[in-house]
């Protein structure tokens, strides 16, 4: 049984090639695997483009207020003078102008550019945090299951089975729908974001958990673990010093590939109306509104493209990262 992103352990190690070092051979700097991966990555133009876009998007998200204030249209401000009160559409069709780069929304004339820019904040924030949560839970439980084996493993594995049998989206919708407006000392966007992070992150951990468990199982068989044990190393030492460094690559790969999945997940929840509360802009939420106005295509186009470009960039970067860290897959 494979999770969508399966990265099996042995693949991530440098295959035993005849060492490039002869006794009299050229002196090679002490290059770590990370450095080698970086050299590989540097040659991968596509992945670098992806990385560039990702960084760009992160900057956009961070500096959204600055960018938007430059154009003078806060994301929630109405521009109803641009809207026809009969058809609800922008009077000139789209409202695209130098002032409104992406045009304005029907009904209330909010600036689409500002909303798309602000949407990046929510999307990326939730995707990052949820990924962090999944990875943290998944790694912790996966490693524990794989390392200790026995009933601990059975328990954790069965828990993962149960989680994987849940109709995820249904649960997410249900939970997001029935959690009250103020809870756990939080409210407003903070609560919603935390809730979404929790839901997305919490329901996704079994995937990475399985992978980490498999990786740990295979690492446990490696002789260097025995070596550490025969030196008298205790569990924590083995887990943290011996195993974790070897799990960094799969964690990194999985996390990068999980982020786009989570972006899509968040968009889906927002689309279904259980995301962050309005009027805070989200891409999924904008598309869901745009559905009613499909005859005004630019309304749907920009948030749709924003999701597409973001997810694509992360996927490209993730693929490249995997290729760089995992030479066999090339």
């Amino acid at each position: 049984m494979t999770a969508p992103l399966d990265v099996s352990g042995s693949e991530l190690e440098v295959a035993p090639e005849p060492g490039p070092v002869g006794p009299a051979g050229r002196a090679i700097e002490g290059r770590s695997l990370g450095q080698i991966a970086w050299t590989r990555l540097k040659r991968d133009k596509v992945a670098l483009t992806g990385a560039g876009v990702v960084i760009f998007l992160i900057l956009v998200a961070i500096f959204a207020p600055l960018i938007v204030s430059g154009f003078g249209h806060p994301p929630n401000d109405f521009n109803q003078d641009l809207i026809s009160t009969e058809t609800l559409a922008p009077k000139d069709g789209t409202g695209i102008s130098a002032a409104h780069l992406f045009g304005v929304e029907p009904v209330n004339g909010r600036d689409i550019f500002s909303r798309v820019v602000y949407g990046a904040r929510i999307s990326l924030l939730i995707a990052f945090l949820a990924t962090l949560l999944s990875v943290a839970i998944g790694t912790a439980l996966g490693v524990i299951a794989g390392y200790f084996g026995g009933w601990v493993d059975s328990l954790i594995s069965k828990t993962m089975d149960v989680f994987l049998a849940f109709p995820l989206l249904v649960f997410a919708i249900a939970l997001a729908g029935i959690v009250p407006d103020t809870a756990f000392g939080l409210s407003g966007d903070t609560l919603r974001v935390s809730l979404l992070v929790f839901i997305i992150g919490f329901f996704n951990w079994p995937y990475i958990g399985r992978i980490m468990r498999g990786q740990t199982l295979s690492l446990r068989e490696r002789e260097f673990v025995d070596a550490a044990r025969s030196l008298g190393a205790r569990g924590p030492y083995i887990i943290f010093r011996e195993m974790l460094p070897n799990l960094v690559a799969p964690i990194l790969i999985y996390a990068t590939l999980l982020i786009p999945t989570n972006i899509l997940f968040e968009a889906a929840l927002s689309f279904l109306g259980v995301g962050v509360r309005p009027p805070t802009a989200t891409w999924g939420g904008m598309i869901s509104e745009a559905v009613r106005f499909y005859s005004i295509p630019h309304f749907m186009f920009f948030p749709g493209m924003a999701i597409f470009v973001t997810v694509l960039a992360f996927n490209l970067f993730g693929d490249g990262l995997r290729d760089a860290l995992d030479p066999r897959a090339r």
């Binding site: 069965k158 049998a165 849940f166 109709p167 249900a174 598309i287 869901s288």
Partner: protein, 339 residues
Amino acid sequence: MVTYIIRRLIWGVVMLAIVSMITFAIFFLVPRLAGATSESLASRYVGRTATAEQVTLAAEKLGFNDPLIVQYGRFAKGIVAGADYDYGPGVERCPAPCLGYSFLTRLPVWPDLLNRIPVTMSLAAGAAIIWLLSGVGTGVISALRRGSFFDRAAMSVALAGVSLPIFFTGIVSLVLFSYGRPLAITAPGGSYTPINENPAMWAYSLILPWITLAFLYAAGYARLTRSGMLETMNEDYIRTARAKGLPERVVVVKHGLRGALTPIVTIFGLDVGLLMGGAVLTESTFSLPGLGKYSIDAIVNQDLPKVMGVVLVTAFFVVLANLLVDLLYAVVDPRVRLS
């Protein structure tokens, strides 16, 4: 083998029980933690002009005054032993598995589900065939012509495919190919026709959802198949097959694809299993009256018996798919032993 299946089935039942308990607890507890009383809960399920007396009645009838355990017990008992149902003029037996009665319509949930399953099944099956054929086919060709124009083009499309949210592609395709088009290639949803009524209409009403759903999955499968093929084509046994003088086609299909297909079959089984629980986004985008749309509607209406029913059915399909996949694995790969 038989004991294996029995063991797996027992575990499957346990899993369904756990899933149902968690679901029940979430829906039961969260509103109560938010301060709802059994009366205020009941007032969801009566008309807006209902009097306090009617609300109390409804709370009583729906059993909201009982503790959590009792309510869950009643639900579980219905599944195992069936339940009695007061439909007004008399009492009717709802045989096991009785998934209870909708809070809202007071009608049994099970027939509803039976009604919806064929829709979801049609959607899943059709899409699955399309994506399996196109995805695996593309993946194989890409792997064999690695680096070629076809490979690059196919992989770019595939990457785009996995990067597009399905509700977006769904709507765009509806706008492009259906809404108000004189030559609409599909009915835009809601006009689902059962296959036994009119197979042509059935296919017509599903073609767009199929393609939209299949596109997403086909993209993933193409990527998966390609990397799987690249990996198996590096296996020693492929070299052996070539050394025997087999034509390349045989090497690729009989030896390479056969080896690469096993993990794909596994994922395929699980994907279809999960889809059987309802492709929520696809069904709501295309207004298909399947399990996914049903679950959304149930949640919106806070109709717990319906939610429980659809969750259980989904989990059932997942458990079943898991089992089938494992059995299939043993058939496909003679090295696997079930124990």
